[in-house]
């Protein structure tokens, strides 16, 4: 009697590239009462405003993990192409990875089609990716830029919906920011007015929301080019009092029980032309 061993070919790299190996174990742990870790979210106030010649986008720079600030100078204004930028709110790791993916895809599109990528392309790629994961990839993006058809601004939500706006705000600080935008926005603004409006909206969000703050970054995108401004620190975010006392420890203050010194091997290399 011959017993046949059947080997099932494990698909090595599925198209999704997410690995679900640990899921069974993690679910079992949760049943045992072990709560999972808190993910770093960007808290955030992100704001974008379109004006006569282009788009102004801005974001604060605080990343929170539960109640503590995990990163004081986090980059939330991500470059997708020279003239398309995305501001992100939501789960920090998801945002980093989604924007990296969008940037590489757009670069490939630009190389393949020999044309500048359009904002709507970025939006569609983002939507299709996010809808596939039914909102579990927590990325809320404001995608804005200038392409051959003009300046555009879109808001993409984690579940895969998108909408176009003349101005938008997202994140936990958006409630404060959007009220400033609703009050002061008008069509056909100049660059200075648009910049000032974005700055005021960001400051309102950073002031009122405890998950936004520290400093903010602005990017101004026009047909002629892109200007990145930042980090800018509003008055209420400056540390009120700098440390008066400098903590200087005497060398030898800490008792050393064991010490091991490892010297590196320095390898001289020669360029042979």
């Amino acid at each position: 009697m011959a017993s046949t061993l059947v080997y099932e070919q494990k698909p090595s790299m599925k198209e999704s590239a997410f690995s679900f190996d640990n899921c069974a174990r993690n679910m079992a742990l949760e049943k045992l009462g072990m709560s999972g870790p808190k993910l770093r979210s960007t808290g955030t106030t992100i704001v974008a405003v379109t004006y006569k010649d282009g788009v102004v986008m801005g974001a604060d720079s605080r990343a929170t993990a539960g109640n503590i600030i995990a990163d004081k100078h986090c980059e939330k204004v991500h470059k997708l192409t020279e003239s398309i930028y995305a501001c992100g709110a939501g789960t920090a790791a998801d945002l980093d990875q989604v924007t990296k993916m969008l940037a590489s895809n757009l670069q490939l599109i630009e190389l393949n089609t020999e044309r500048k990528a359009r904002v709507i392309t970025a939006v569609r790629r983002a939507k299709q990716h996010l809808f596939r994961y039914q909102g579990h990839v927590g990325a809320y993006l404001l995608i804005g830029g200038v392409d051959p058809t003009g300046p555009h601004l879109y808001e993409v939500h984690a579940h895969g919906s998108s909408c176009t706006f003349p101005f938008a705000a997202d994140g936990s600080g958006s409630y404060a920011a959007i009220s400033i935008l609703e009050r002061d926005f008008k069509f056909g603004m100049t660059q200075e007015e648009a910049e000032a409006l974005t700055q005021r909206a960001l400051e309102a969000g950073m002031h009122g929301d405890n998950a936004s703050g520290n400093s903010f970054n602005l990017v101004i995108i026009t047909k002629e080019g892109t200007v990145f401004k930042g980090p800018m620190v509003p008055d209420f975010c400056v540390k009120p009092q700098s440390n008066d006392i400098e903590y200087k420890f005497k060398p030898g203050a800490t008792t050393v029980l064991k010490q091991k010194i490892i010297k590196y091997e320095v390898v001289e290399s020669m360029d042979i032309e």
Binding site: A17, F18, S19, F20, D21, N22, C23, A24, R25, N26, L29, G33, M34, S35, G36, P37, L39, R40, A63, A65, I68, A70, D71, K72, H73, C74, T91, A92, A93, D94, D96, Q97, H136, V137, N243, E246, Y247, K248, F249, K250, P251, A253, T254, Y264, E265
Partner: protein
């Protein structure tokens, strides 16, 4: 009970002038019981790059072994020494690959560029979001306590001896409360 505090453990890294200092506590436990007091949480990845791993111990071992394996492959394929930023991206991508079934470990990468000796430190959450400040990072159960203490002790451009004192005093003070 949180899975991240099952074994316990804290790692801290501070950057100075052309130097970095990494420190960790030495306790490993099973919930409230302490199993050993000589378990360090910092591992050498390359000559000048160290990986600190806080969180669930078995996942830290898995991540460590995978990173060391991938780093060796990298150095063989590229025929050059790996940079700390690349190690960080490698770990981040490994963790993000398991976004929906994460490894319960919070890694910290600290090192010097193999050629320019520029310091690089970064901390990550369990799904690989990199935060690379210029001053200090802390991960693990004592993260909150350490971040506060480091804000006070860190200064710009510290030399190796000063940096050692600052890091160890921060660790000693912060761990009094964890």
């Amino acid at each position: 009970m949180s899975i991240m505090s099952y074994n316990g453990g804290t790692v801290i890294a501070m950057a100075g002038k052309e130097c970095v200092c990494v420190g960790s506590d030495l306790r490993i436990g099973e919930q409230m019981t302490t199993i050993a007091t000589n378990q360090k949480k910092i591992y050498k990845v390359a000559d000048k790059i160290y990986l600190g791993l806080g969180g669930f111990h078995s996942d830290t071992q898995t991540v460590l072994n995978t990173v060391q394996f991938r780093k060796s492959l990298y150095e063989l394929r590229e025929n050059r020494k790996i940079k700390p930023k690349v190690v960080a991206t490698m770990v981040s991508n490994l963790l993000y690959q398991h976004r929906f079934g994460p490894y319960f470990t919070e890694p910290l990468v600290a090192g010097l560029d193999p050629i320019t000796n520029e310091p690089y430190i970064c901390g990550m959450d369990t799904i690989g979001c990199i935060a690379a400040p210029r001053d200090f990072v802390a991960v693990g159960t004592g993260q909150e306590y350490l971040l506060g203490v480091c804000e006070g002790f860190w200064r710009e451009n510290m030399g190796p001896d000063e940096l050692f004192e600052a890091t160890s005093q921060a660790l000693l003070s912060g761990l009094e409360r964890d």
